[in-house]
Amino acid sequence: MGMGRYVIKRAASSVLTFFVTVALTFVLFRLLPGNPVQLLFRNPELTQAEIRELSTQFGLNKPLWLQFILYIRNVFLGNWGISFYYRSPVTEVLFPALLNSVILILPATVLAIVIGAGLGVLAGWKRGSYTDVGVLSSSLVLYAIPTFWLGILLIMIFVKVGGLPVSGMVSITAVNGPPLQYLVSVLRHMILPMLTLTLVTLGQFTIIMRSSIIGELTEDYVVAAYSKGLTSSWLLRKHVVPNALLPTISIIAISIGTVVAGAVLTETVFSWPGVGSLIYDSIFRRDYPVLQGAFLIIALFVIAANFVADIMYAYLDPRVKYS
Protein backbone atom coordinates (compact mmCIF):
# COMPACT_ATOMS: atom_id res chain seq x y z
CA MET A 1 0.00 0.00 0.00
CA GLY A 2 1.36 3.43 -0.88
CA MET A 3 1.72 6.45 1.29
CA GLY A 4 -1.32 8.17 -0.21
CA ARG A 5 -3.62 5.28 0.50
CA TYR A 6 -2.24 4.97 3.99
CA VAL A 7 -3.02 8.62 4.70
CA ILE A 8 -6.57 8.16 3.40
CA LYS A 9 -7.05 5.04 5.48
CA ARG A 10 -5.80 6.71 8.66
CA ALA A 11 -7.91 9.79 7.94
CA ALA A 12 -10.99 7.62 7.51
CA SER A 13 -10.30 5.84 10.78
CA SER A 14 -9.79 9.18 12.58
CA VAL A 15 -13.09 10.49 11.23
CA LEU A 16 -14.73 7.25 12.37
CA THR A 17 -13.26 7.68 15.86
CA PHE A 18 -14.60 11.23 16.04
CA PHE A 19 -17.96 9.99 14.83
CA VAL A 20 -18.04 7.42 17.64
CA THR A 21 -17.13 10.20 20.10
CA VAL A 22 -20.03 12.28 18.84
CA ALA A 23 -22.35 9.29 19.19
CA LEU A 24 -21.03 8.72 22.71
CA THR A 25 -21.82 12.30 23.74
CA PHE A 26 -25.33 11.80 22.35
CA VAL A 27 -25.78 8.74 24.57
CA LEU A 28 -24.21 10.48 27.57
CA PHE A 29 -26.19 13.68 27.36
CA ARG A 30 -29.56 12.34 26.14
CA LEU A 31 -30.10 8.73 27.05
CA LEU A 32 -28.66 8.14 30.49
CA PRO A 33 -31.04 8.33 33.46
CA GLY A 34 -31.11 11.80 34.95
CA ASN A 35 -29.74 13.22 31.73
CA PRO A 36 -29.36 16.98 31.34
CA VAL A 37 -32.22 17.36 28.90
CA GLN A 38 -34.64 16.00 31.50
CA LEU A 39 -33.05 18.12 34.22
CA LEU A 40 -33.27 21.13 31.99
CA PHE A 41 -37.02 21.37 32.20
CA ARG A 42 -36.94 21.38 35.97
CA ASN A 43 -34.68 24.41 35.95
CA PRO A 44 -36.76 27.21 37.52
CA GLU A 45 -34.59 29.92 35.96
CA LEU A 46 -35.81 29.17 32.45
CA THR A 47 -38.78 31.01 31.01
CA GLN A 48 -41.55 29.21 29.07
CA ALA A 49 -40.30 30.72 25.82
CA GLU A 50 -36.78 29.46 26.45
CA ILE A 51 -38.06 25.97 27.22
CA ARG A 52 -39.99 25.94 23.94
CA GLU A 53 -36.95 27.20 22.09
CA LEU A 54 -34.74 24.55 23.66
CA SER A 55 -37.25 21.78 22.93
CA THR A 56 -37.16 22.69 19.27
CA GLN A 57 -33.40 23.08 19.38
CA PHE A 58 -32.99 19.58 20.82
CA GLY A 59 -35.84 18.29 18.66
CA LEU A 60 -37.32 16.48 21.64
CA ASN A 61 -40.68 16.01 19.92
CA LYS A 62 -39.06 13.95 17.16
CA PRO A 63 -38.31 10.19 17.19
CA LEU A 64 -34.97 9.18 18.67
CA TRP A 65 -33.26 8.16 15.43
CA LEU A 66 -34.17 11.49 13.85
CA GLN A 67 -32.87 13.32 16.93
CA PHE A 68 -29.62 11.43 16.52
CA ILE A 69 -29.26 12.36 12.85
CA LEU A 70 -30.11 16.00 13.54
CA TYR A 71 -27.61 16.04 16.39
CA ILE A 72 -24.82 14.66 14.20
CA ARG A 73 -25.69 17.19 11.51
CA ASN A 74 -25.58 20.05 14.01
CA VAL A 75 -22.24 18.96 15.41
CA PHE A 76 -20.63 18.85 11.98
CA LEU A 77 -22.19 22.16 10.98
CA GLY A 78 -20.68 23.79 14.07
CA ASN A 79 -24.05 24.37 15.70
CA TRP A 80 -23.16 23.19 19.21
CA GLY A 81 -26.08 24.66 21.10
CA ILE A 82 -26.51 27.60 23.46
CA SER A 83 -24.76 27.83 26.83
CA PHE A 84 -27.24 27.82 29.71
CA TYR A 85 -24.99 30.09 31.72
CA TYR A 86 -23.62 32.59 29.21
CA ARG A 87 -26.77 32.50 27.03
CA SER A 88 -24.56 32.63 23.95
CA PRO A 89 -23.53 29.95 21.39
CA VAL A 90 -21.26 27.26 22.83
CA THR A 91 -18.71 27.77 20.05
CA GLU A 92 -18.36 31.44 21.06
CA VAL A 93 -17.81 30.43 24.70
CA LEU A 94 -15.33 27.71 23.76
CA PHE A 95 -13.15 29.64 21.36
CA PRO A 96 -11.40 32.08 23.76
CA ALA A 97 -10.99 29.27 26.33
CA LEU A 98 -9.45 27.04 23.67
CA LEU A 99 -7.02 29.79 22.72
CA ASN A 100 -5.98 30.24 26.37
CA SER A 101 -5.48 26.48 26.72
CA VAL A 102 -3.28 26.31 23.63
CA ILE A 103 -1.18 29.25 24.90
CA LEU A 104 -0.51 27.19 28.04
CA ILE A 105 -0.31 23.65 26.66
CA LEU A 106 1.80 24.19 23.56
CA PRO A 107 4.95 25.65 25.18
CA ALA A 108 4.61 23.29 28.17
CA THR A 109 4.42 20.23 25.92
CA VAL A 110 7.29 21.34 23.70
CA LEU A 111 9.42 22.00 26.79
CA ALA A 112 8.47 18.63 28.30
CA ILE A 113 9.30 16.76 25.10
CA VAL A 114 12.63 18.53 24.55
CA ILE A 115 13.81 18.27 28.17
CA GLY A 116 12.30 14.79 28.61
CA ALA A 117 13.89 13.44 25.42
CA GLY A 118 17.23 15.05 26.30
CA LEU A 119 17.28 13.47 29.74
CA GLY A 120 16.14 10.17 28.24
CA VAL A 121 19.05 10.15 25.79
CA LEU A 122 21.47 10.96 28.59
CA ALA A 123 20.09 8.23 30.88
CA GLY A 124 19.91 5.62 28.11
CA TRP A 125 23.44 6.35 26.91
CA LYS A 126 24.87 6.15 30.42
CA ARG A 127 22.74 3.16 31.32
CA GLY A 128 23.40 1.87 34.84
CA SER A 129 25.37 4.93 35.93
CA TYR A 130 24.41 7.23 38.79
CA THR A 131 23.10 9.71 36.22
CA ASP A 132 20.80 7.04 34.82
CA VAL A 133 19.52 5.99 38.23
CA GLY A 134 18.97 9.62 39.22
CA VAL A 135 17.15 10.54 36.02
CA LEU A 136 15.03 7.38 36.03
CA SER A 137 13.94 7.63 39.65
CA SER A 138 13.09 11.32 39.41
CA SER A 139 11.10 10.62 36.23
CA LEU A 140 9.13 7.93 38.04
CA VAL A 141 8.46 10.26 40.97
CA LEU A 142 7.31 13.01 38.58
CA TYR A 143 5.03 10.48 36.89
CA ALA A 144 3.51 9.53 40.24
CA ILE A 145 2.92 13.09 41.45
CA PRO A 146 -0.72 14.13 40.99
CA THR A 147 -0.85 17.23 38.79
CA PHE A 148 -3.12 19.12 41.14
CA TRP A 149 -0.93 18.36 44.14
CA LEU A 150 2.19 19.69 42.43
CA GLY A 151 0.15 22.80 41.61
CA ILE A 152 -0.90 23.09 45.25
CA LEU A 153 2.71 22.79 46.43
CA LEU A 154 3.87 25.50 44.02
CA ILE A 155 1.02 27.77 45.09
CA MET A 156 1.93 27.27 48.75
CA ILE A 157 5.59 28.04 48.08
CA PHE A 158 4.94 31.14 45.99
CA VAL A 159 2.27 32.53 48.27
CA LYS A 160 4.92 32.48 50.98
CA VAL A 161 7.89 33.60 48.88
CA GLY A 162 5.99 35.95 46.61
CA GLY A 163 7.26 37.12 43.25
CA LEU A 164 4.89 35.21 41.00
CA PRO A 165 1.09 35.30 40.66
CA VAL A 166 -0.54 31.98 41.56
CA SER A 167 -3.97 32.39 40.04
CA GLY A 168 -5.67 33.68 36.91
CA MET A 169 -4.15 34.77 33.60
CA VAL A 170 -3.70 38.53 33.85
CA SER A 171 -3.71 40.92 36.79
CA ILE A 172 -6.54 43.44 37.17
CA THR A 173 -4.27 46.43 36.77
CA ALA A 174 -2.94 45.11 33.47
CA VAL A 175 -6.26 44.20 31.86
CA ASN A 176 -6.74 47.65 30.38
CA GLY A 177 -3.08 48.61 30.43
CA PRO A 178 -0.78 49.03 27.43
CA PRO A 179 -0.14 45.87 25.33
CA LEU A 180 3.37 45.35 26.68
CA GLN A 181 2.21 45.47 30.29
CA TYR A 182 -0.61 43.05 29.39
CA LEU A 183 1.82 40.65 27.76
CA VAL A 184 4.23 40.73 30.68
CA SER A 185 1.39 40.10 33.10
CA VAL A 186 0.16 37.08 31.10
CA LEU A 187 3.69 35.68 30.86
CA ARG A 188 4.20 36.04 34.60
CA HIS A 189 0.88 34.30 35.30
CA MET A 190 1.85 31.56 32.89
CA ILE A 191 5.07 30.52 34.61
CA LEU A 192 3.68 28.38 37.44
CA PRO A 193 0.95 26.52 35.50
CA MET A 194 3.41 25.91 32.68
CA LEU A 195 6.03 24.64 35.12
CA THR A 196 3.46 22.27 36.65
CA LEU A 197 2.32 20.90 33.31
CA THR A 198 5.88 20.53 32.03
CA LEU A 199 7.04 18.68 35.15
CA VAL A 200 4.16 16.20 35.30
CA THR A 201 4.40 15.28 31.62
CA LEU A 202 8.19 15.29 31.43
CA GLY A 203 8.76 12.02 33.29
CA GLN A 204 6.94 9.81 30.81
CA PHE A 205 8.83 11.28 27.83
CA THR A 206 12.14 10.65 29.60
CA ILE A 207 11.27 7.03 30.28
CA ILE A 208 10.04 6.40 26.72
CA MET A 209 13.15 7.98 25.21
CA ARG A 210 15.46 6.12 27.56
CA SER A 211 14.09 2.69 26.69
CA SER A 212 14.07 3.59 23.01
CA ILE A 213 17.78 4.53 23.17
CA ILE A 214 18.63 1.36 25.08
CA GLY A 215 16.76 -0.73 22.52
CA GLU A 216 18.63 1.00 19.69
CA LEU A 217 22.02 0.51 21.36
CA THR A 218 21.59 -3.27 21.26
CA GLU A 219 21.12 -3.27 17.46
CA ASP A 220 23.78 -4.95 15.35
CA TYR A 221 24.68 -1.81 13.43
CA VAL A 222 25.80 -0.10 16.65
CA VAL A 223 28.18 -2.95 17.41
CA ALA A 224 29.40 -2.85 13.81
CA ALA A 225 29.96 0.90 13.97
CA TYR A 226 31.94 0.51 17.19
CA SER A 227 34.13 -2.15 15.65
CA LYS A 228 34.82 0.21 12.76
CA GLY A 229 36.25 2.58 15.38
CA LEU A 230 33.59 5.32 15.26
CA THR A 231 33.42 7.57 18.31
CA SER A 232 30.56 7.30 20.74
CA SER A 233 29.30 10.85 20.40
CA TRP A 234 29.35 10.73 16.59
CA LEU A 235 27.45 7.47 16.62
CA LEU A 236 24.94 8.83 19.12
CA ARG A 237 24.27 11.99 17.12
CA LYS A 238 24.19 10.50 13.65
CA HIS A 239 22.57 7.12 14.17
CA VAL A 240 21.19 6.22 17.55
CA VAL A 241 19.20 9.35 18.44
CA PRO A 242 17.49 9.77 15.04
CA ASN A 243 16.50 6.11 15.02
CA ALA A 244 15.36 6.13 18.62
CA LEU A 245 13.24 9.25 18.07
CA LEU A 246 11.00 7.52 15.55
CA PRO A 247 9.07 5.10 17.75
CA THR A 248 8.93 7.82 20.39
CA ILE A 249 6.74 9.95 18.12
CA SER A 250 3.88 7.47 18.12
CA ILE A 251 4.08 6.97 21.89
CA ILE A 252 4.10 10.73 22.41
CA ALA A 253 0.89 10.86 20.37
CA ILE A 254 -0.76 8.34 22.67
CA SER A 255 0.33 10.33 25.72
CA ILE A 256 -1.33 13.50 24.41
CA GLY A 257 -4.41 12.27 26.26
CA THR A 258 -2.50 12.46 29.55
CA VAL A 259 -1.18 15.92 28.66
CA VAL A 260 -4.76 17.10 28.14
CA ALA A 261 -5.86 15.56 31.45
CA GLY A 262 -2.92 17.25 33.16
CA ALA A 263 -3.88 20.55 31.56
CA VAL A 264 -7.47 20.29 32.81
CA LEU A 265 -6.25 19.82 36.38
CA THR A 266 -3.52 22.46 36.09
CA GLU A 267 -5.95 25.04 34.75
CA THR A 268 -8.40 24.30 37.55
CA VAL A 269 -5.83 24.65 40.32
CA PHE A 270 -4.37 27.88 38.92
CA SER A 271 -7.75 29.25 37.70
CA TRP A 272 -6.25 29.60 34.21
CA PRO A 273 -9.25 30.48 31.98
CA GLY A 274 -8.88 27.62 29.49
CA VAL A 275 -11.07 24.69 28.46
CA GLY A 276 -10.17 22.81 31.67
CA SER A 277 -11.42 25.59 33.93
CA LEU A 278 -14.46 25.93 31.69
CA ILE A 279 -15.24 22.23 32.22
CA TYR A 280 -14.81 22.61 35.97
CA ASP A 281 -17.05 25.69 36.15
CA SER A 282 -19.65 24.20 33.79
CA ILE A 283 -20.02 21.12 35.99
CA PHE A 284 -21.14 23.25 38.90
CA ARG A 285 -23.24 25.56 36.73
CA ARG A 286 -24.87 22.47 35.18
CA ASP A 287 -24.09 24.04 31.84
CA TYR A 288 -24.38 20.86 29.80
CA PRO A 289 -24.10 22.28 26.26
CA VAL A 290 -20.73 23.81 27.17
CA LEU A 291 -19.62 20.58 28.84
CA GLN A 292 -20.55 18.60 25.75
CA GLY A 293 -18.83 21.12 23.46
CA ALA A 294 -15.68 21.12 25.59
CA PHE A 295 -15.47 17.34 25.45
CA LEU A 296 -16.01 17.31 21.68
CA ILE A 297 -13.30 19.91 21.10
CA ILE A 298 -10.80 18.05 23.32
CA ALA A 299 -11.57 14.75 21.59
CA LEU A 300 -11.19 16.44 18.20
CA PHE A 301 -7.76 17.76 19.20
CA VAL A 302 -6.50 14.47 20.59
CA ILE A 303 -7.73 12.52 17.56
CA ALA A 304 -6.15 15.04 15.19
CA ALA A 305 -2.86 14.92 17.07
CA ASN A 306 -2.82 11.12 16.86
CA PHE A 307 -3.52 11.29 13.14
CA VAL A 308 -0.69 13.77 12.53
CA ALA A 309 1.72 11.67 14.60
CA ASP A 310 0.83 8.50 12.69
CA ILE A 311 1.38 10.17 9.35
CA MET A 312 4.64 11.75 10.50
CA TYR A 313 5.86 8.39 11.74
CA ALA A 314 5.00 6.64 8.48
CA TYR A 315 6.61 9.46 6.48
CA LEU A 316 9.81 9.51 8.50
CA ASP A 317 10.31 5.78 8.93
CA PRO A 318 10.46 3.87 5.65
CA ARG A 319 10.34 0.60 7.61
CA VAL A 320 6.68 1.12 8.48
CA LYS A 321 4.61 -1.24 6.40
CA TYR A 322 1.51 0.86 5.84
CA SER A 323 -0.91 -1.48 7.51
Partner: protein
Amino acid sequence: MVLMAILAPYISPYNPNQIDPNAILQGPSFHHLLGTNEVGQDILSLVIWGSRVSLLVGFLATAVAITVGTTIGVAAGYFGTAADEVLMRLTDFFLVVPAVVLAIIVAALLGNSLLNVVLIIGLLSWPPTARIVRSSTLVYKHAPFVEASKVAGASSIHILRTHILPNVMPLVYANTALTIANAIFTQSALVFLGVGDINNISWGQTLHFAYSSGAITAGDYWYAIPPGLMIVLAVLGFALAGYSLDEAFNPRLKGGSVFGSA
Protein backbone atom coordinates in the same frame (compact mmCIF):
# COMPACT_ATOMS: atom_id res chain seq x y z
CA MET B 1 -0.02 0.56 53.04
CA VAL B 2 -2.67 -2.11 52.75
CA LEU B 3 -2.00 -2.93 56.42
CA MET B 4 -2.53 0.71 57.27
CA ALA B 5 -5.91 0.63 55.54
CA ILE B 6 -6.99 -2.55 57.32
CA LEU B 7 -5.75 -1.45 60.72
CA ALA B 8 -7.11 2.10 60.41
CA PRO B 9 -9.47 1.82 63.41
CA TYR B 10 -6.63 0.67 65.67
CA ILE B 11 -3.75 2.90 64.62
CA SER B 12 -5.39 6.23 63.97
CA PRO B 13 -5.12 8.48 67.02
CA TYR B 14 -8.55 10.11 66.61
CA ASN B 15 -11.88 9.38 65.01
CA PRO B 16 -11.41 11.09 61.63
CA ASN B 17 -14.98 12.42 61.69
CA GLN B 18 -14.56 13.94 65.12
CA ILE B 19 -14.84 17.69 64.95
CA ASP B 20 -13.00 19.83 67.49
CA PRO B 21 -13.99 23.49 67.35
CA ASN B 22 -11.22 24.32 69.79
CA ALA B 23 -8.49 23.01 67.52
CA ILE B 24 -9.05 24.50 64.08
CA LEU B 25 -6.20 24.60 61.54
CA GLN B 26 -3.55 23.94 64.14
CA GLY B 27 -0.03 23.14 63.01
CA PRO B 28 1.62 19.83 63.93
CA SER B 29 1.81 19.40 67.68
CA PHE B 30 2.15 16.66 70.25
CA HIS B 31 -1.64 16.24 70.40
CA HIS B 32 -2.15 16.28 66.65
CA LEU B 33 1.03 14.97 65.03
CA LEU B 34 0.07 16.31 61.60
CA GLY B 35 -2.12 19.17 62.79
CA THR B 36 -5.83 19.72 62.17
CA ASN B 37 -8.04 21.02 59.36
CA GLU B 38 -10.58 23.83 59.15
CA VAL B 39 -13.16 21.99 61.27
CA GLY B 40 -10.69 20.53 63.72
CA GLN B 41 -10.35 17.01 62.32
CA ASP B 42 -7.03 15.29 62.93
CA ILE B 43 -5.03 15.16 59.67
CA LEU B 44 -3.07 12.03 60.58
CA SER B 45 -6.33 10.16 61.21
CA LEU B 46 -7.80 11.49 57.97
CA VAL B 47 -4.77 10.30 56.04
CA ILE B 48 -4.86 6.86 57.65
CA TRP B 49 -8.59 6.40 57.08
CA GLY B 50 -8.29 7.92 53.62
CA SER B 51 -6.13 5.01 52.51
CA ARG B 52 -9.21 2.76 52.78
CA VAL B 53 -11.31 4.42 50.08
CA SER B 54 -8.31 5.32 47.91
CA LEU B 55 -7.03 1.74 47.85
CA LEU B 56 -10.52 0.20 47.69
CA VAL B 57 -11.44 2.22 44.61
CA GLY B 58 -8.06 1.35 43.11
CA PHE B 59 -8.60 -2.38 43.62
CA LEU B 60 -12.28 -2.54 42.63
CA ALA B 61 -11.86 -0.37 39.53
CA THR B 62 -8.91 -2.52 38.51
CA ALA B 63 -10.98 -5.68 38.99
CA VAL B 64 -13.58 -4.24 36.62
CA ALA B 65 -10.92 -3.14 34.12
CA ILE B 66 -9.09 -6.48 34.19
CA THR B 67 -12.30 -8.50 33.76
CA VAL B 68 -13.52 -6.43 30.84
CA GLY B 69 -10.07 -6.15 29.29
CA THR B 70 -9.31 -9.87 29.52
CA THR B 71 -12.70 -10.86 28.12
CA ILE B 72 -12.44 -8.50 25.19
CA GLY B 73 -8.80 -9.31 24.56
CA VAL B 74 -9.31 -13.08 24.57
CA ALA B 75 -12.44 -12.83 22.44
CA ALA B 76 -10.73 -10.59 19.89
CA GLY B 77 -7.60 -12.72 19.76
CA TYR B 78 -9.24 -16.12 19.71
CA PHE B 79 -12.25 -15.63 17.47
CA GLY B 80 -10.39 -13.30 15.11
CA THR B 81 -11.66 -11.69 11.87
CA ALA B 82 -14.85 -9.66 12.31
CA ALA B 83 -14.98 -9.87 16.11
CA ASP B 84 -11.32 -8.89 16.28
CA GLU B 85 -11.82 -5.92 13.97
CA VAL B 86 -14.83 -4.55 15.86
CA LEU B 87 -13.35 -5.10 19.34
CA MET B 88 -9.98 -3.62 18.44
CA ARG B 89 -11.56 -0.53 16.87
CA LEU B 90 -13.49 -0.15 20.14
CA THR B 91 -10.25 -0.53 22.10
CA ASP B 92 -8.49 2.04 19.91
CA PHE B 93 -11.36 4.41 20.47
CA PHE B 94 -11.05 4.18 24.24
CA LEU B 95 -7.27 4.52 24.00
CA VAL B 96 -7.55 7.73 22.02
CA VAL B 97 -10.42 9.38 23.88
CA PRO B 98 -9.07 11.47 26.78
CA ALA B 99 -10.18 9.14 29.59
CA VAL B 100 -9.73 11.47 32.55
CA VAL B 101 -11.77 14.21 30.88
CA LEU B 102 -14.47 11.71 29.97
CA ALA B 103 -14.41 10.37 33.56
CA ILE B 104 -14.84 13.89 34.95
CA ILE B 105 -17.85 14.54 32.73
CA VAL B 106 -19.50 11.15 33.27
CA ALA B 107 -18.96 11.40 37.03
CA ALA B 108 -20.51 14.86 37.01
CA LEU B 109 -23.52 13.59 35.05
CA LEU B 110 -24.13 10.37 36.97
CA GLY B 111 -23.66 11.68 40.48
CA ASN B 112 -20.84 10.96 42.85
CA SER B 113 -21.39 7.63 44.61
CA LEU B 114 -18.50 5.30 45.36
CA LEU B 115 -19.92 2.66 43.01
CA ASN B 116 -20.17 5.12 40.13
CA VAL B 117 -16.56 6.17 40.54
CA VAL B 118 -15.42 2.52 40.59
CA LEU B 119 -17.44 1.72 37.47
CA ILE B 120 -16.35 4.82 35.58
CA ILE B 121 -12.66 4.32 36.27
CA GLY B 122 -12.92 0.58 35.63
CA LEU B 123 -14.79 0.92 32.36
CA LEU B 124 -12.34 3.53 31.09
CA SER B 125 -9.11 1.73 31.93
CA TRP B 126 -9.49 -1.68 30.31
CA PRO B 127 -7.98 -0.99 26.84
CA PRO B 128 -4.29 -1.60 27.68
CA THR B 129 -5.19 -4.95 29.26
CA ALA B 130 -7.32 -5.90 26.25
CA ARG B 131 -4.42 -5.15 23.90
CA ILE B 132 -1.89 -7.16 25.88
CA VAL B 133 -4.27 -10.10 26.28
CA ARG B 134 -5.16 -10.08 22.60
CA SER B 135 -1.57 -10.20 21.37
CA SER B 136 -0.75 -12.92 23.87
CA THR B 137 -3.83 -14.94 22.85
CA LEU B 138 -2.71 -14.72 19.21
CA VAL B 139 0.60 -16.28 20.22
CA TYR B 140 -0.99 -19.26 21.96
CA LYS B 141 -3.89 -19.69 19.53
CA HIS B 142 -1.75 -21.74 17.13
CA ALA B 143 0.42 -23.39 19.76
CA PRO B 144 0.67 -27.17 19.23
CA PHE B 145 -1.18 -28.02 22.46
CA VAL B 146 -4.12 -25.83 21.43
CA GLU B 147 -4.24 -27.36 17.95
CA ALA B 148 -4.10 -30.82 19.49
CA SER B 149 -6.95 -30.03 21.81
CA LYS B 150 -8.99 -28.74 18.87
CA VAL B 151 -8.36 -31.92 16.88
CA ALA B 152 -9.45 -33.93 19.89
CA GLY B 153 -12.78 -32.12 19.67
CA ALA B 154 -12.58 -29.74 22.60
CA SER B 155 -15.03 -26.83 22.64
CA SER B 156 -13.88 -23.22 22.34
CA ILE B 157 -14.87 -22.53 25.92
CA HIS B 158 -12.83 -25.48 27.13
CA ILE B 159 -9.77 -24.46 25.13
CA LEU B 160 -10.01 -20.87 26.35
CA ARG B 161 -10.39 -21.91 29.97
CA THR B 162 -7.80 -24.63 30.24
CA HIS B 163 -5.22 -23.67 27.63
CA ILE B 164 -5.33 -20.02 26.68
CA LEU B 165 -6.22 -18.21 29.91
CA PRO B 166 -3.64 -19.87 32.17
CA ASN B 167 -0.92 -18.81 29.72
CA VAL B 168 -2.23 -15.29 29.27
CA MET B 169 -2.90 -14.49 32.92
CA PRO B 170 0.69 -13.79 34.08
CA LEU B 171 0.82 -10.81 31.73
CA VAL B 172 -2.53 -9.64 33.07
CA TYR B 173 -1.24 -9.81 36.64
CA ALA B 174 1.75 -7.68 35.71
CA ASN B 175 -0.61 -5.16 34.15
CA THR B 176 -2.83 -5.20 37.23
CA ALA B 177 -0.38 -3.23 39.37
CA LEU B 178 -0.06 -0.52 36.73
CA THR B 179 -3.85 -0.35 36.41
CA ILE B 180 -4.21 0.02 40.18
CA ALA B 181 -1.70 2.88 40.12
CA ASN B 182 -3.67 4.63 37.38
CA ALA B 183 -6.99 4.03 39.16
CA ILE B 184 -5.73 5.57 42.42
CA PHE B 185 -4.42 8.49 40.42
CA THR B 186 -7.70 9.06 38.56
CA GLN B 187 -9.81 8.62 41.70
CA SER B 188 -7.85 11.27 43.57
CA ALA B 189 -8.17 13.66 40.61
CA LEU B 190 -11.95 13.13 40.37
CA VAL B 191 -12.47 13.62 44.08
CA PHE B 192 -10.19 16.64 44.13
CA LEU B 193 -12.33 18.26 41.43
CA GLY B 194 -15.40 17.50 43.53
CA VAL B 195 -17.01 15.17 41.00
CA GLY B 196 -15.89 11.95 42.65
CA ASP B 197 -17.03 10.41 45.87
CA ILE B 198 -16.77 13.49 48.07
CA ASN B 199 -18.59 12.07 51.12
CA ASN B 200 -16.13 9.33 52.02
CA ILE B 201 -12.75 10.15 53.48
CA SER B 202 -10.00 9.66 50.92
CA TRP B 203 -6.72 11.38 50.09
CA GLY B 204 -8.30 13.22 47.21
CA GLN B 205 -11.13 14.38 49.45
CA THR B 206 -8.74 15.79 52.05
CA LEU B 207 -6.89 17.69 49.31
CA HIS B 208 -10.19 18.91 47.90
CA PHE B 209 -11.11 20.51 51.21
CA ALA B 210 -7.58 21.78 51.75
CA TYR B 211 -7.87 23.62 48.43
CA SER B 212 -11.47 24.79 48.67
CA SER B 213 -11.13 25.98 52.27
CA GLY B 214 -8.30 28.30 51.31
CA ALA B 215 -5.81 26.49 53.54
CA ILE B 216 -3.41 26.30 50.58
CA THR B 217 -3.13 30.03 50.07
CA ALA B 218 -2.89 30.43 53.83
CA GLY B 219 0.20 28.21 53.70
CA ASP B 220 -1.07 25.38 55.93
CA TYR B 221 1.49 22.89 54.68
CA TRP B 222 0.61 20.16 57.21
CA TYR B 223 -2.88 19.97 55.68
CA ALA B 224 -1.88 19.64 52.02
CA ILE B 225 1.38 17.70 52.05
CA PRO B 226 0.55 14.37 53.81
CA PRO B 227 -2.40 13.22 51.62
CA GLY B 228 -0.55 14.13 48.40
CA LEU B 229 2.55 12.33 49.60
CA MET B 230 0.44 9.23 50.24
CA ILE B 231 -0.90 9.33 46.67
CA VAL B 232 2.64 9.63 45.31
CA LEU B 233 3.82 6.69 47.44
CA ALA B 234 0.85 4.51 46.50
CA VAL B 235 1.08 5.25 42.76
CA LEU B 236 4.86 4.86 42.77
CA GLY B 237 4.66 1.59 44.70
CA PHE B 238 2.12 0.00 42.38
CA ALA B 239 3.81 1.36 39.26
CA LEU B 240 7.20 -0.04 40.31
CA ALA B 241 5.63 -3.38 41.23
CA GLY B 242 3.95 -3.49 37.82
CA TYR B 243 7.19 -2.51 36.12
CA SER B 244 9.17 -5.33 37.66
CA LEU B 245 6.37 -7.89 37.24
CA ASP B 246 6.16 -6.89 33.60
CA GLU B 247 9.88 -7.41 33.15
CA ALA B 248 9.69 -10.78 34.88
CA PHE B 249 6.67 -12.10 32.96
CA ASN B 250 7.01 -10.50 29.57
CA PRO B 251 9.83 -12.13 27.62
CA ARG B 252 9.56 -9.68 24.72
CA LEU B 253 9.92 -6.69 26.98
CA LYS B 254 13.61 -6.67 27.77
CA GLY B 255 14.12 -3.28 29.34
CA GLY B 256 10.94 -2.04 27.72
CA SER B 257 8.96 0.96 28.78
CA VAL B 258 6.55 1.29 31.66
CA PHE B 259 4.34 3.49 29.61
CA GLY B 260 4.27 1.50 26.42
CA SER B 261 1.71 -0.67 28.10
CA ALA B 262 0.21 1.70 30.63
